[in-house]
Symmetry: C2
Subunit: 464 residues, 2 copies
Amino acid sequence: MYKKRFDLKYMLNPRSVAIIGASSSPNKVGHVILQNYIDAGFPGKLYPVNTKEDAILGLKVYKSVLNIKDGVDLAVIAVPAEIVPKVLEECGKAHVKSVIVVSGGFAEMGRADLQDKIISIATKYGIAMLGPNCLGVMDPRSRVDTLFLPTYKLSKPKIGSVSFVSQSGAVGSTVLDLIAKEGFGLSKFISYGNAAVVDEVDILKYLGDDEDTKVIIMYIEGVKRGKEFIEIGKEVTKKKPVIVLKGGVTEQSASAVHSHTASLSGSFAAYQAVFRQFGFIVADDLSDLLNYAKAFSTEHMPKGNRVAIVTNGGGAGVLETDEIFLNNLTLAEFDKTTLENLRKNLPVIVAVRNPLDLVGDADDKRYETALQAISKDPNVDMIIAIVLFQTPGADSKVVSTLIHYKNITDIPIAALSPGADYTSVHKMMMENSGIPVYDSPAAVAKSFAKLLEHSRYLKDNGKE
Amino acid sequence: MYKKRFDLKYMLNPRSVAIIGASSSPNKVGHVILQNYIDAGFPGKLYPVNTKEDAILGLKVYKSVLNIKDGVDLAVIAVPAEIVPKVLEECGKAHVKSVIVVSGGFAEMGRADLQDKIISIATKYGIAMLGPNCLGVMDPRSRVDTLFLPTYKLSKPKIGSVSFVSQSGAVGSTVLDLIAKEGFGLSKFISYGNAAVVDEVDILKYLGDDEDTKVIIMYIEGVKRGKEFIEIGKEVTKKKPVIVLKGGVTEQSASAVHSHTASLSGSFAAYQAVFRQFGFIVADDLSDLLNYAKAFSTEHMPKGNRVAIVTNGGGAGVLETDEIFLNNLTLAEFDKTTLENLRKNLPVIVAVRNPLDLVGDADDKRYETALQAISKDPNVDMIIAIVLFQTPGADSKVVSTLIHYKNITDIPIAALSPGADYTSVHKMMMENSGIPVYDSPAAVAKSFAKLLEHSRYLKDNGKE
């Protein structure tokens, strides 16, 4: 059992936040962060700290965190690297409970000395310090947001169940933007940069215990405390899926990793074997990270590998069938009752088999008939509904039918709906109602294969 | 040398079109097709044919194609299957040059007899007949459009250089919709369904000779005349890239193929080996088809496998480096002049190496400096510009810089820019100016690997 070092609740759900380096100049990081807190409607207390100004954005400014009389749960430090040790020392003296250092200019820039200095200060005072060289945190529930990026460039995710941990700030902001395009929403975002004090182990422990987090996705470049990471990972992966994208998997990219977040990236083969063994779900590409998160966020797990495909496009059914088998899944053999129901209730132009091609003019009634029978079939473990919205009969009534069956069955249901504008609108309706929607046959099959892999891992470990 | 059986120019660039089964009822296929021709501003003559009506959409109606006195280049047949033989016979007698049968209800529905009947009629009169059971053709240049799908559901591609051939109608309409989202545009779309007379061999020959077509992408489920397909393929692949997505690659999906377009899908391993040998570019997934088309549509081919990566996100550079090596490409070693230029002109926070991390606040000037040096480096065969638009400095000026260097160099340049709304707008600017933009590190690396594979094929065959 891993022993917790820090409680990150003060960082992610603070009652009071000091912004050290707050500024009235709109281009300064300290200004953007303060503005973010205000814009998000942060319900706690806000203390701008700046040695030279008196009021910023209508708020009283403090010369030092030491001047704030009430306790400070979180201090966000956005001052030049050279000044960070001084203000961090003040945070320690002021009994600030947690600190996020967003400033760069430490180990990643060859200043390991400066990083060592802040580590020793944080350690002396027992401060949970995130960063340096990071974007900090975002939590749409507690309205905490330390991201200092232009808000018009970055769509912000709605409240949801997926937490995202990123060593890299830029990958972090990009994935946040991508999450905003998806329907599953965000629980917590934590960008931890150089991991000088708080690292992936502390974060994994916190999110493992966090009730609002149902799925954890991580972008990591290196793990400093490998043994502890596995120890805590073993616990967490049995409670909730942990999907990991590892940067620096090839020998050649290892040096790029080092200059980026000053991490040492070990052999990928070793990582991957260990990750798999302890139930982590390994993503091979950025797109996988999102695709898998989408599938797992439904919290419906398959009992076996038998897939039913319902489609309004024969060719798409063929391509999906290919991908099913290429990903070691198989097609369900419909049972007698299902076959009888389908034969009785579908028009004669529909050949009753799996994949079930409802033909190009299929409407909601045909999907209704198909899903009613298939969702009750004991031989079906997963359902892929292919809805090509370019066809005459596919509209929001089909969406409504899919949502209905998604709500009344425990079988995982995913949709495949590639397309442009008309499709995007309908895709969003489904995603917002908890149906993961994919753009390519391979993406659905790979995601379902991961669900099955994880379902077997849980079973082997006596869960579910 | 393959001998041409038909000239498809009458189908794709007709001076006169008869729509047999035209109707004044808006829900009828024959109405939608006629309306499409009118909406597209088709410059030739239009003849609605219907036994019961006098005028449709303001046009005089003919009882039979035999009543049309001037010649007919193309007849689109949209009447019930049982009546097709009769109207096809009339087309033969009227010396109609080409016919598209959009109607279904033939071999794919167990009516091989009816299909044989129309084959023998078409053969008797030497008619180039496309279909049955197909969507027909679209050519934004000649304004031919036989698609009978609701126009509001399907974004239509602009004029471009990529021709798309699809056995499946639904896959066809979906990919058309996806092409409309991309910047490369469409030359011709041909959906050939059951391939009763005109088949993939005739189409490949035609598009191989078509000057407006620079890239051919195909979705096929089976090839009827394998020997001829390879014979013509050998010629065409040396002139322009032919990207093939094959449905029914697993044993298990073969029967789904048969009930869909009545094709026999052979062993994939055999297909794939042959495809590769004769220079076809094999796509493994629907998304590959678009990703590869995008890369090839620039018509810039790499001379070697050495990739330069310029990025404003360190983590994204790491992930791209991984994918470069996983796809058997390598990182370029910048030459002395490049290194000197970069060291002299970039701020000290940028570590001069490949991948070149311009750091999170990079603006157009930094990209300018980087691309100016790198695009002239003799050690660089391909450039990947990663632009994460979530960061402060990335805006349309960076887009403008990329377009400038894309215009003055022969080196293939691709961009990696995953993101939501703000990113999408900038992505479209780049695509419209001929820079392929991708959503994931793997997609870029796979596409560049295909460019290189094809460039080597051309070299081995004495081309370029």
